[in-house]
Amino acid sequence: MDITKKDVELAGKLAHMHISEEESSLYEEQLKALFNWVQELSAVNTDGVTLTQTDLAAFVRSDVPVENEALAQELRNDFAAQENACAKVKKVL
């Protein structure tokens, strides 16, 4: 599988990570080796294989709001500041 520095940079961008020139060269080599190894999977015939589907609805709780002021306060206590019964977080930008 042909992996280039451009691929590494694209993946870095999608993953919101800065990849330095040095890292890019290192990862390019390592990803080439890894993805060539992964190509061994192409020897396995997967025609007709369907992936097990999970019925998510069976695991998701009903969407009913629950009021629990004690728990809410406990959660707010994890934050350094609170205001109007809300947790106050620092300004990002």
Binding site: M1, I3, D7, V8, L10, A11, G12, L14, A15, H16, M17, H18, I19, E23, L26, Y27, E29, Q30, L31, A33, L34, F35, W37, V38, E40, L41, S42, V44, T46, V49, T50, L51, T52, F59, L75, D78, K90, V92, L93
Partner: protein, 471 residues
């Protein structure tokens, strides 16, 4: 360090107090940790308070829990309210858990004493414990060598006699491989046996909490306390938890042990010698050895690296400086904010995130991710078929014994292949145990591994118990 069985007897009889046992563990940690680096934090005051509470409970004549007074170490990716959980990463350097994981709740309910958090590969990504921000762990058997990983701190803590029981997590062998390198027992139960609630996620479809102990019986006692359905984890299985130690049989008569022959080609001589010796011993103990074919097992490792990296790229997306993780101090815009915040990941973590992200791009999704998922499905079917004919499988735990610190080639494949025999357990969701079975020519421990079907941990524990006893 006393075994769990000895501690339980001593505490319940009053021969020793939980406080004495805890102080002995703390003294051992103080003596050895500067060399071994197994613990990244010791919860001395909390541990002593818990031990005293156990002693008070006993003096009031109350019933003690199944791990009363047993010092237990937890890996640094397991949450314990009010305590740091950093995944040994700069990214979470100041993270303090706001709730307690189910496994720690269960330990506390069992009257265990939580003694501290152990070193690990950053975000559990590694097989040598060399990617921790706290520095590498040294193998107590030979401090020039790695303890394995990613639960290297937990394995080393048990091997050095600091604690009789430690929790690890196993996504591709991270409990069993360090157990093998350090000469202790490591169990990864089948997927869903133990709750993952409060365990920092790496790859959710493969992560499992496991136990490390000095012997099989202790590991079984730990596993029994931790197993069971948890309403906080929808993937935990609703099935009764057996009293594992009650399932130890007098011998192995009637037990069928499979040897997956094609999967064992090209083994190093020392490892092969120990595996053959184990097979011979099992026969003497009454087991029937059967050659089996698991033709696709050899593809587990490449599947593992694609699937777990892809899942990690999603799971670790939360470390953006807003939801979790280090927050950039001065960034001109949102993109710069993300880039600066996420720059704190180490090299190995970054690489896995790049692998995972790349495997999920529209360009590579079908060829890489979807293909790996389909092969995984076939591997699972392979194992299901095999376990219709045998009770357990016998394999090496690792292709090598503990290697030297700093042996860290640029080609990642050599290190990735370290997980060759352990990955199938996570890809197939199987129960697996590594048990020490002798040493190589250099005197380093060699572990052999038993695999069993999901929800049949008692079978692998029983086989390992007999093999251990026969040494």
């Amino acid at each position: 360090m006393m075994t769990i069985v000895q501690i339980l007897k001593a505490v319940s009889s009053g021969e020793q107090t939980a406080e004495q046992i805890t102080r002995a563990a703390l003294a051992k940690i103080a003596e050895l940790n500067p060399t071994i680096n197994a613990f990244v934090e010791v919860f001395e005051q909390d541990a002593l308070a818990q031990a005293k509470a156990v002693d008070e409970k006993r003096s009031r004549g109350e019933k003690l829990g199944p791990l009363a007074g047993v010092p237990v170490a937890i890996k640094d990716n397991i949450l314990y309210k009010g305590h740091k959980a950093t995944c040994c990463s700069k990214m979470l350097a100041n993270y303090v858990a706001s709730y307690t994981s189910t496994v720690v709740e269960k330990l506390l309910a069992a009257d265990a004493v939580i003694i501290g958090r152990t070193n690990m590969d950053e975000f559990a990504m590694g097989s040598s414990n060399q990617t921790s921000v706290y520095g590498p762990v040294k193998n107590p058997v030979d401090t020039e060598r790695v303890p394995g990983g990613s639960s290297g701190g937990s394995a080393a803590a048990v091997a050095a006699g600091m604690v009789p029981l430690a929790l690890g997590t196993d996504t591709g062998g991270s409990v069993r491989q360090p157990a093998s390198f350090c000469g202790v027992v490591g169990v990864k139960p089948g997927y869903g046996r133990i709750s993952r609630y409060g365990v920092i996620a790496f790859a959710s479809s493969a992560d499992q909490v496991g136990v490390l102990a000095a012997n099989v019986q202790d590991a079984a006692l730990g596993l029994e306390v931790l197993s069971g359905k948890d309403t906080h984890d929808s993937t935990s299985l609703d099935a009764p938890v057996p009293a594992y130690t009650q399932h130890f049989t007098p011998d192995l008569k009637g037990v069928k042990v499979g040897l997956p022959k094609g999967f064992l080609d090209g083994l190093y001589e020392d490892i092969k010698l120990r595996l053959d010796a184990a097979a011979e011993q099992l026969k003497k103990l009454g087991a029937e050895m059967v050659e089996v074919d698991v033709p696709l097992a050899k593809y587990s490792a490449p599947c593992y690296y694609i699937i777990t990296s892809a899942e990690a790229s999603s799971n670790l997306g939360r470390y953006d400086g807003i939801r979790y993780g280090y927050s950039a101090q001065e960034a001109p815009d949102l993109n710069a904010y993300y880039l600066q915040s996420r720059a704190l990941f180490g090299l190995e973590v970054k690489k896995r995130l790049i692998i995972g992200t790349y495997a999920l791009t529209s360009q590579r999704y079908e060829e890489c991710f979807l293909k790996a998922m389909k092969v995984r499905e076939l591997i699972r079917q392979d194992f299901k078929k095999v376990f219709e004919n045998v009770d357990v499988l016998l394999t090496p735990t690792s292709p090598t014994t503990a290697f030297r610190l700093g042996k860290w080639g640029k080609n990642p494949l050599s290190l990735y292949l370290a997980d060759l025999y352990t990955c199938p357990g996570n890809i197939g969701g199987l129960a697996g145990i590594s048990v020490p079975y002798g040493k190589d020519k250099k005197g380093l421990p060699v572990g052999v591994q038993f695999y069993g079907p999901i929800l049949q941990e008692e079978k692998i524990l029983n086989a390992a118990y007999h093999l251990e006893k026969s040494l």
